[in-house]
């Protein structure tokens, strides 16, 4: 009996997920902030400039089709002066009606101007991209002094959607 229930459950699951497809969207971020603390934790932010509708419109999708939005890659580009004082990075997102969540982190930073963040598990950005006040937040620990910083990031979003 248990085997039959398991089998039926598997069939139901397969039926539900069969028509799910994925769309990968690249998004550029420019995170800016004033470095208030020398040798300490500082923050850069960027107001989200593309909601879910604009992200998927090129692909001809509607928001009703979107089941979830994950992240598959987060790259941060640092200049040599930024790299020389940056100790660690933590990329997050928040919106008016959703809690601040971590997307990825990196500590210590490896060699090279472009670094790949280690991504958090099981993230769904859909509620953030549909909400007002969506803000990308990059926390970084510094081992030196800086006035202002503007750091480029490129993230790959994975839109899981139902095919019509």
């Amino acid at each position: 009996m248990r085997k039959i229930i398991f089998f039926l459950g598997f069939i139901a699951l397969a039926a539900c997920s069969a028509d799910l497809a994925q769309l990968e969207v690249e998004k550029n971020l420019m995170l800016q902030g004033e470095m208030l603390f020398e040798d300490a934790a500082n923050t850069l932010t960027m107001d989200n400039d593309q909601d879910l509708i604009t992200l998927i419109e090129e692909a001809g999708l509607t928001t009703d089709q979107v089941e979830s939005v994950g992240i598959s890659e987060a790259k941060i580009t640092l200049s040599s002066s930024e790299k020389s004082i940056a100790e660690s990075l933590l990329l997050q997102v928040v919106s008016d009606n959703n809690q601040l969540i971590t997307l990825g982190t990196l500590n210590p930073l490896p060699e090279g101007a472009i670094v790949n963040l280690k991504l958090a598990e099981e993230i769904d950005l859909k509620p953030y991209l549909e909400d007002s006040g969506c803000t990308w937040v990059l926390d970084l620990n510094l081992s030196g002094d800086a006035d202002e910083m503007a750091i480029k990031s490129k993230i790959k979003l994975v839109v899981n959607y139902k095919e019509n």
Binding site: F37, A40, A41, T43, T45, E87, S88, L90, Q92, V94, S95, D96, Q99, L100, T102, T105, L106, N107, K118, L119, A120, E121, G133, T135, V137, D139, L140, N141
Partner: protein
């Protein structure tokens, strides 16, 4: 015309109240020291919510000199995050009626547990931070003191 007048009157009378509300809410912004004196937490505002980050730790490094990490985080992929700079306090929203910051969370890196959190201002330089599970009855309160610039 009457609708326009009503909107203008509403804007005229509500904006000072809104400004006062924002001023009260922003009293939380600053650098605070928990009662154990082992860290400083900077509380700032992103959008309409308040967040606290560890900006100084008495013991920022392990015995071998490497930075102390968030090794108890339930998400294994985030355990390499240093505790210095960590956002331990998240998503607090100011409630004008209760004169408190509510609906946030506070994270205890010692055990990797996130608690519900509410904060009350005792005076301009002291806050009561309560971490709790479920209802606010079951929890712990700590008094934090604002760090002030030397005169």
């Amino acid at each position: 015309m009457s609708r326009l007048l009503a909107v203008l009157l509403l804007a005229l009378f509500s904006s000072p109240a809104l400004m006062a509300q924002s001023k009260d809410a922003d009293k939380l912004v600053g650098v605070w020291q928990p009662s154990d004196g082992r860290s400083y937490v900077k509380i700032d505002k992103i959008g309409n919510k308040f967040y606290g980050r560890v900006v100084w730790l008495k013991e920022a490094n392990e015995e071998d000199g490497s930075p102390r990490l968030d090794k108890n985080n339930p998400d294994e992929s985030l355990r390499s995050t240093p505790l210095k700079g960590y956002r331990v306090m998240k998503d607090l929203v100011y409630n004008e009626d209760e004169k408190m910051w509510l609906d946030g969370t506070i994270y205890d890196p010692k055990n990797g547990t996130t608690y519900n959190c509410k904060i009350e201002l005792m005076d301009d330089n002291k806050i009561e931070v309560r971490g709790f599970v479920g209802t606010a009855v079951f929890g712990r309160t700590d008094v934090w003191t604002r760090l002030q610039k030397k005169k």
